[in-house]
Structures are given as C-alpha cells and as structure tokens.
Symmetry: C2
C-alpha cells in the first residue's frame, strides 16, 4: 500500500427532504452566493423554488448563472467569475449534475486568481485559493459533489482538461436521490458508465497491496451492475437511485483509490472524443472501456482481471485467461444491455482526428498508467473501437 | 437506504514516515498540547522521542499524562482534565491505541465542561464543546483514530460506557503501519476481532436497501480474514499491517454504516464482561459473536447470513440455512485459528454476575438491534457462551 493523505472534508446531507438543511448550511459558510445551474430542468421539477426559498429564508444574498452546458465551457466559468466579482459574492452554490458542479469549482478558484481561469484548468497548481463551493446534486455520475476535480472545455481549441485540488472540494453537498427520479434512461446509463469507469481507473492498478481498496472498488461495481437496470426500468425506485448516487461519490472521493498508484487511462482518451465531438462523457467511456481492457490484458495484469471476473461477475470456471476474457465480455455486454453504443462508428466518429486526439491523450499521463500507453497505443485502441 | 449526515473531518497521514508531518499538523491546530500515552512501550520503540522531537521543533508547549490503562479509567480522564486546566493546554494528542485515544477524547470534552467528566460518559449530549484531539496510532483495533466514540470505565462501579459525538472526532491522525510491527500476536488477534465485530454490528442490520455499504462491510471482513493470520505469522509484513490498520478505521468511521439503522448488540454485552472482569475487549467480542449470531439467526434474518456466507466465505453449496450455519461455524473457527478463546469459562468467567450484567447490557439499546434483545436473551447468550 502506498502512502497517502486522506482528506474528504465535504459534509453530506443524504436522503429524502435534505434540501431543508440547505439554507442553514449555506448560511454557516457565506451570506452571499452565486447560484449556478444548467438548462432549467430544476425550474420544471420545483427544485429551483425550494433552493430560492431556502436562500431567502436564511437571508442569503444571491445572483444567478444559468445555462451551464454539459461538458461545461470556459466561457461560462469566465461569466461566473465576472458576476461574483461585480456583486462581491463569497461562495458558489451549484444545483445540478457534474457539469454544473465542475463549472462552480473553477468559478470559485477563478475568483481568487488574477489571470484567466483557463490557466487554472490547464495547470491546477495555479489554484492556490478558492471561494467555498457547495452543491445540490441532481445526477449520479461524476462524483463531483464529493471530490476536488473539475473538467472544463474550450471548444474553440478542441480542448478539455481536468483540474482542481483539495481547495475545490465542496464544503457540503445535498444528495437527495428523489431528484434523480426524472433522469432519463439514457442518461442513467451514461452516468453509470461514468461511475464504473472511475472505479475501473482506480481498480486497475499495479499496486497489489491495496487489498481493502480493491474490495471497495468491487462493491461499487456490483452496486452499479445491480441497480442501473432497476433505475432505468423503474425510474422512481428510491433504493436504486440512492445506491447509484452514493456509489457515484464513493467511486471517486478517494475511498477507492487512497493507497494505490493510479494514473487514469480511459478518461484522458475519452476527453479527446468529447473535446472533438462534444459527445456525452459516459457514452465515450462505455465504448472505450472494453477495448482498453482487451488492450492492456497481459500476463502481468492478468491477476487483477481474474479478481474482477471472480469477485464482481462471479465467474469461477476456466483458466485465468478465460476468466479474464469472460469478465471483459461481461463488461461489454453489460454496457450494451443498458442501451449504450459499443462502437465509435455508431456515434458518428471516424478516424479523421485519431492522430491528434491520440497525441493529446498520450500527453495526459498515460505512460504512468496500469500499463504504460503511448500515442500509437491510443490510436490502436481507437481503431479497435471503431 | 436511511437518511444520513456524512461527516468524517479527520485528516489522515497514512504510511511510512508520516510522523514527520506531526509537528506542522499539530502546530496548525494548537501551540500547546497534552500528550497522552499508555504504559510506556512508545519509549522502548523510539516513537516517544520522535513525537517529542516534532513538538520541540515546532515550538509546541506540552505536558504529559502517561499510564493510560487498557479499558481506560475515568480517573485518568479526570487527571488529564486537571493537567490541561492547570497548564492552559489547548489540545490533546494521543499516542497509542484505542484506549489512549478514547481517554484523550473525554479529556478534551471534559476540559470544556463544568461538572465531572463521568457525566459526559453516561450522557453524550453533555458534550457540547471539546478541545481538538489528534492521534498517532500504534494499534489496529478500535478505529478510535477516525471516529468520535470513546469508551471509558469506572471500575469502582463496574461500569463501562461508550460516549462521544461529532465534536470528539480527531482533527488528524498519523497512521504508520510500521508502529504496529511490535504488537504481539495475541493483541493482533484481539484487535482483528474488534475490527470484525464493529463491521458485524453495521452489517447485520434490518435495512436491506443499503447495498453498497454491505459490500464495503464484506470488504473489511475479507481484509481481516486475509491479513490477520499473516500479521501474526510475520509481524513485520507491511502489507498485512497496513491493510488491518486501514480496515480498523473503515470499520467504524461511518463508511460501513451510513444509511443503515444499526443498533449495536455484541458491544453492549461485551462491555459488561470487561466492566466486571477487566478482560481484553476483543477477546470478549470473539467469544460472544458466534453465539450471538446463532441466537439471532431466524427466517427473517437469514438473508443477511446467506450474503455473509456467500460473499465473505465463498460458501455456495447448500440450502440457505446450511449456508448461514456454515458461515457462523467459519466465524467461530476463524477466531479459534487466531488463538482466541471460544468460551467464557476459558477466561475464568462463570454465571455469577450474569443477571446484573444482562440487565445493564439490555439497557444499552439492545431492543433496537438487528433482532430486539432483552435481558433474558442476553442471559441465554451468556449461558450458551459459557
């Protein structure tokens, strides 16, 4: 097990009706806040009114930034920073899914930085101070509600990078699974692929001694496999939504990765797909994951695939290689069963930009991963996924 | 899944050499501290010198309270409060295992309370303020390094109660598995029984919807089963000690219990044993656990025992009842394989105090447990364990 520094400061109000705690929790942090949200679905389902009511009842001054995009843009971040500065707002409250929360995080750090916030996206060491961030979560997927990461795009440059650090971890999050009852099936599927991919990134590590963490990863994976189909069939299954929501946080808040030496592989590759084609992140991950698994399976990595097959899928018969390959096949079948595409060609991606996308992905630290990957490897994985 | 409030504020410096962070981390909390430790083993192994060096280098003023007992006494707490007050110390640093940390917590709350700290032991609502507590851990067992609980005894009254709340959670803990290399085999075994018992208390719940948390519990249990024998055979196995140490924290910090409606059962029963006989806590737990399991196994609780058998012990053959009973038998055999006693009579306990012990244990909330238990049930379980 590697040395690590554990720090998960986010307080979580989890469950039905927890929005009632928003006002008091927010007030304890700041008396003024930028309210950040997306396309307006929170106005249709009544959540917006509840949030405003909580802020008003507690005398919290607020301004709004709405219309934050999926794959949030640097332009929205800049606009948020501008509003905060002009109105002297001292905290940022995101109401939405991972995109909204990610946007809020870099607004929060951007407010404490003299230059353009894009500098902080490409270099997280430039985040040395941030306004407090809080979140009301409406989608189980990215885990942004309980970690420090933020992924921001500049589509004018076809660039999408992850940033953030300890300072951008939310101070608190309200997580009511009922707010995800209205998430459509295809988004539930994509969110599940995202949760599973975060877990895979942590699980497929060369560190053999982080035994407990690996068992936690398997728990998250089993939870996704158990509940994603149920949440798609019965969107108002509280048990399914609650387990997926808590799994989304646990997949990425550190519980599954502290003590491992993980360097993510599939995420940097997928970020290039969505930077160039603006596809749904989880869809890209679902397509690439099985091909990445096939590509990195070898004698050295076999042990972990065998554990994966046995402990997650319950495969006990066969040689190690047979178990490993069956587990990869199960992964592919599972994503397909959720209605997710299995090939890049299905979502209109061809090999036109493979070269530049692979070059950029490889620059994202892929040589330090489970198996070191370089530009040509990424091109091969993209080709296999065509 | 039940509603819950997640709050684990403790920062953890985990791994080799992390003691180097003690001084700076302590200094950020307070410039004066009460150093609390036990029987002096930290002076033999050099840890004491390192701690003093860290405090000195960072200009932190300190006084000492040494000789804290296993099953720490209220007298030690009172003495700690007195020293803090006389010397105006503003934080408490425990260096040791759970007993030392528990003692430090009630010293910390006692310093902010006008009456006798025993009031706070029997009624945790009287803990409304506390000095910051920090810990350097030397034993994987109670998980006190990452939770708010403290168990304190008044042997003059044969009383032992658990207390503590959010305010007594350590602000940081230094967890270097190397400091547990010198823990003797029998204490390693008892500590493992404690970790497993905390996990069982969370795992055996009537809440069926906390699926992810149950998988995490299974991960902790598998970790104990995998590594306790190795740590006893090879005391300096870093991998074994590290996994047991992290498991000790995860078993009780909330990760395994948030969202469940757990009311502990075996701990209140064991507390009576050690209140009357001053036995090692983990030994009492190891004896009682399988008898408690047999006693609460019925048609309604079967499902969880079957999951336990399948997911932790890999038992797949047989009827549900056969799997459940085999899992309980495996539990008993495992504790025996660690050299732990299997009967109360083996450690000199007879039925003399069963009546009063059962009455007191039943008053500890046993009627709200996995299966409601009353005084007569506790007597039956004690008798079965004789």
């Amino acid at each position: 097990m590697q040395n690590f520094y554990y720090n998960i400061p986010t307080k979580v109000y989890f469950g039905k009706g927890q929005i009632e705690n928003l006002g008091a929790a927010m007030k304890a942090v700041s008396e003024s806040v930028l309210l950040v949200y997306g396309g307006g679905s929170i106005k249709k389902n009544g959540l917006y009114d509840k949030v405003i009511d909580q802020l008003a009842k507690n005398g919290i001054r607020y301004c709004e930034l709405s219309g934050v995009e999926p794959n949030p843009r640097i332009e929205s971040v800049r606009e948020g920073v501008r509003i905060c500065r002009e109105n002297e707002l001292k905290a940022v409250l995101a109401v939405g899914g991972g995109s909204t929360i990610d946007c809020a995080k870099i607004i929060a750090s951007g407010c404490c930085y003299d230059g353009d916030p894009w500098d902080q996206v490409v270099d997280n060491s430039k985040i040395t101070e941030a306004l407090p961030v809080a979140a009301v979560l409406t989608l189980a997927a990215t885990g942004s509600e309980m970690d420090g990461f933020a992924v921001i795009s500049d589509l004018s440059k076809n660039e999408k990078w992850g940033s953030g650090n300890e300072l951008t971890k939310p101070v608190f999050s309200i997580m009511d699974p009922e707010y995800t009852f209205t998430v459509p099936a295809r988004q539930t599927a994509a969110g599940t692929a995202d949760i599973m991919s975060h877990t895979f990134e942590n699980y497929f590590t060369s560190e053999k001694g982080a035994y407990l963490q690996a068992r936690f990863c398997e728990g998250v994976l089993k939870t996704c496999i158990r509940y994603a189909p149920e949440a798609m069939e019965k969107p108002d299954s509280y048990e399914a939504r609650a387990n997926l929501m808590w799994a989304s946080s646990m997949a990425i808040n550190g519980i599954c990765s502290y003590g491992e030496n993980t360097a993510w592989a599939v995420h940097p590759m997928e970020h290039e797909l969505s930077a160039f084609y603006d596809i749904t992140h989880g869809v890209g991950l679902a397509i690439l994951t099985p091909y990445w698994m096939e590509y990195v399976l070898n004698d050295e990595t076999m042990w972990r695939f065998v554990e994966y097959g046995k402990n997650v899928w319950g495969i006990t018969d066969g040689t190690d290689e047979e178990i490993a390959r069956a587990a990869i096949e199960k992964t592919k079948e599972f994503f397909a069963s959720l209605g997710l595409p299995s090939k890049l060609s299905e979502i209109g991606i061809d090999d036109e930009h493979f070269d530049i996308m692979a070059e950029k992905a490889a620059a994202g630290g892929l040589e330090y991963g489970f198996i070191p990957l370089y530009k040509d490897d990424v091109i091969n994985i993209f080709r296999n996924a065509l």
